[in-house]
């Protein structure tokens, strides 16, 4: 079974600053996907960024980037030039790779509540 750990329950940062959210995971799988999801106060869960474990290059999406360390089983999210709209709960999640039914289940961490201060 997979586990995902987010050790920072809450964080806050000034607007325009850079913030890094931590995530570690445990798995015996070699190929898998990692995700960061954002859940704003409106509650709609939104995909922020995805990383495929067999790709060494870290994924980036505009102001969002990840630091993926496969050997250390670490997957942190960096938000640059933070904006008020980034205030949300952020969840790290794991998915097995493959074509078998059931592989597409997500295992989530407990979340980090991020507040951007004006």
């Amino acid at each position: 079974a997979q586990t995902v750990t987010q050790s920072q329950p809450e964080m806050s940062v000034q607007e325009a600053e850079t913030v890094t959210l931590s995530c570690t995971y445990d798995t015996s799988e070699n190929n898998y996907y990692l995700f960061w999801y954002k859940q704003p106060p409106s509650r709609q869960m939104i995909l922020v960024i995805r990383q495929e474990a067999y790709k060494q290059q870290n994924a980036t999406e505009n102001r969002f980037s990840v630091n993926f360390q496969k050997a250390a089983k670490s997957f942190s999210l960096k938000i640059s030039d933070s904006q008020l709209g980034d205030t949300a709960m952020y969840f790290c999640a794991f998915m097995k790779h493959g074509t078998n039914f059931g592989n597409e289940k997500l295992t989530f961490g407990t979340g980090t509540r991020l507040t951007i201060i004006p």
Binding site: V4, Q6, R50, F101, E104, K105, F108
Partner: protein, 114 residues
């Protein structure tokens, strides 16, 4: 645009009542999921379905059942609601792995059992 709709955003039910939470997706996704979200616990998978009339237990199926009679609709059923089922319930859907693995979520249903 991707759409997963949960018909009830806020419900208050009494202990022992039968509760139905409905979810509809309009993307022709094969997979549908029900998660439960609690503070400090993150999201935990209750059940998922990869086809009509097919279902698989997730991590916390006890006290719940599901129904998928049509591809677009996935219902979560609490046969006899209890106060420890007070929570936020999230429905999600996706294509099978060979067609992409992005999972789309509904807005959630807040259930309070009194």
């Amino acid at each position: 645009d991707v759409k997963v709709t949960q018909s009830s955003r806020y419900l208050v039910k009494r202990t022992g009542e039968k509760v139905f939470l409905e979810c509809v997706q309009d993307m022709d996704h094969e997979n549908m999921f029900w998660y439960r979200q609690d503070p400090g616990l993150g999201l935990r998978l209750i059940y998922f379905s990869y086809d009509v009339k097919m279902k698989e237990k997730g991590d916390i199926p006890e006290g719940y059942s599901v129904s998928r009679e049509k591809k677009e609709r996935f219902s979560l059923i609490l046969e006899s609601a209890s106060t420890n089922q007070t929570s936020m319930y999230l429905c999600a859907s996706s294509f099978p792995p060979w067609r992409g693995n992005t999972i789309y979520f509904g807005e959630g249903s807040w259930l309070t059992v009194v």
